[in-house]
């Protein structure tokens, strides 16, 4: 084995020469015993890699990350289960129960689909899925709202700032859009984002008053006007300022 190959192999192993296994490792070690230049190169590579690795893996974690993480996981447990349609069975009996429940849900969903009754959605799961969809697609990649419900904004203030036609999002993988999302731009408040309309009949937990939240670091506020649940998502600017400034409107 020549010097170039030996050095390349040492570079490629995260543990340097000692980390090399099998016949290749044996050949490299044998070469190193007889080649001072490669010994020196291997030592230098090993030292550098060790320094970088030591610093690389030492990342301090800010306070509160664990608590926020557990809180978010607890909050999202029902919605992830609802959206993904699966939980985590831990024993055979639980698996059987889950399979039975899954079968019942599938049957119920099938019946609901057959009679044309759309399932109710959790507000948090709508906010979560909407932020994801809107964040991950360029505006041009979103499809125009298909008109599966009237999507009329009754509040004059919001009408003025929602001038372009809405885009539609399908959140439950059934036919038809579940929400209509209007682009919102309010230069006076340096606010930019989306106003999302969902028929009130589709929401399982309708907000009784303005309900501020934060989803994936996007500020949100949700309220209802008797016909729709309206969710405002901030891309830029403050929801709190918007709500304060527009006090007297629905928000």
């Amino acid at each position: 084995m020549d010097c170039q190959t030996v050095r390349q192999m040492i570079e490629m192993s995260p543990g340097g020469a000692p980390g090399l296994r099998s016949a290749d490792g044996e050949a490299v070690r044998h070469h190193l015993e007889t080649c001072p230049q490669c010994q020196s190169a291997a030592a230098e590579i090993g030292e550098w890699d060790h320094r970088v690795r030591t610093v690389m893996t030492a990342v301090p974690v800010p306070a509160g990350v664990r608590e926020r993480l557990l809180s978010q996981l607890t909050k999202s447990a029902p919605q992830t289960a609802a959206l993904a349609g699966e939980g985590r069975p831990v024993t055979r009996s639980i698996r059987r129960i889950a399979a039975g429940l899954g079968l019942c849900i599938a049957l119920a969903t099938g019946i609901a689909f057959w009679v044309g009754l759309p399932s109710k959605l959790q507000l948090a799961s709508i906010e979560d899925a909407t932020v994801r969809e809107l964040r991950n697609h360029p505006a041009a990649g979103l499809s125009n709202f298909d008109g599966s419900f009237p999507a009329e904004i009754t509040d004059a203030k919001w009408q003025k700032v929602c001038t372009s036609p809405p885009v539609g999002l399908n959140l439950d993988n059934r036919s038809g859009h579940d929400v209509a999302a209007f682009r919102v731009n309010i230069p006076a408040l340096r606010f930019r984002g989306w106003l999302v309309l969902v028929p009130i009949s589709r929401i399982a937990d309708v907000p009784l008053s303005t309900y501020p939240d934060s989803v994936h670091y996007a500020q949100t506020a949700a309220w209802q006007d008797g016909k729709y649940v309206l969710i405002c998502l901030a891309e830029q600017g403050s929801i709190e300022t918007l709500v304060a400034q527009w006090n007297g409107s629905a928000a």
Partner: protein, 179 residues
């Protein structure tokens, strides 16, 4: 509306959240994004926990979820949100001085200058301790491509770090409270 976590999730978090956060931070270079990536990683893990057959493989599995999520976001269109505003605090608490020079901050600054296609294999090599062959498998790329990228990436990283190490720098210790 809340309900108890699925069995095993809290333990998974306790054991691995620091590592996943650190991994996400080295990939993204942003505290806010790394916390978001960490949350997303564990949410996906919670949903797909049945896929984890071998508990000892949990960390690698979580790293893979975090990396895929990071790459998915990088390939998607940028979304201007609050996290894109300047960060009020930095995670760059002084971690350790190695031979009196290389710091976490310097390393991250050098990593951030690498293009994503170079940065990702570097993080896999140094953070995950994977061999080139394993990295090629994880990223679904030919070994030759990985050899070439890592060779160039390591050279660039070393050059940038040596430049940083030669420059005088302040040893500011952030007041950010640690977990």
């Amino acid at each position: 509306m809340q309900r108890p976590l699925a069995p095993g999730v809290a333990e998974l978090v306790d054991e691995h959240y620091r590592a996943v956060f650190g991994y996400a931070y080295r990939l993204s270079g942003s505290v806010v994004e790394s916390e978001d990536l960490t949350q997303q990683t564990f949410m996906l893990a919670q949903t797909n926990l049945t896929q984890l057959r071998e508990p000892r493989a949990a960390r690698g599995w979580l790293y893979t979820i975090a990396r895929n999520e990071f790459l998915r976001r990088r390939s998607a269109s940028p979304w201007v949100t609050l996290e894109d505003q300047p960060e009020p605090t930095s995670p760059e608490v002084e971690t350790s001085w190695l031979d009196g020079d290389l710091t976490s901050e310097q390393l991250q600054a050098a990593l951030n200058e690498l293009p994503v296609e170079f940065r990702v294999p570097v993080v896999l090599f140094y953070f995950e301790n994977l061999s080139y062959r394993d990295i090629a498998q994880h990223l679904n790329l030919p070994l030759g491509t990985i050899m070439s990228r890592l060779s160039r990436a390591k050279t660039q990283l070393r050059r940038k770090l040596e430049k940083h190490l030669l420059e005088p720098h302040d040893c500011e210790v952030s007041q950010l409270p640690l977990a």
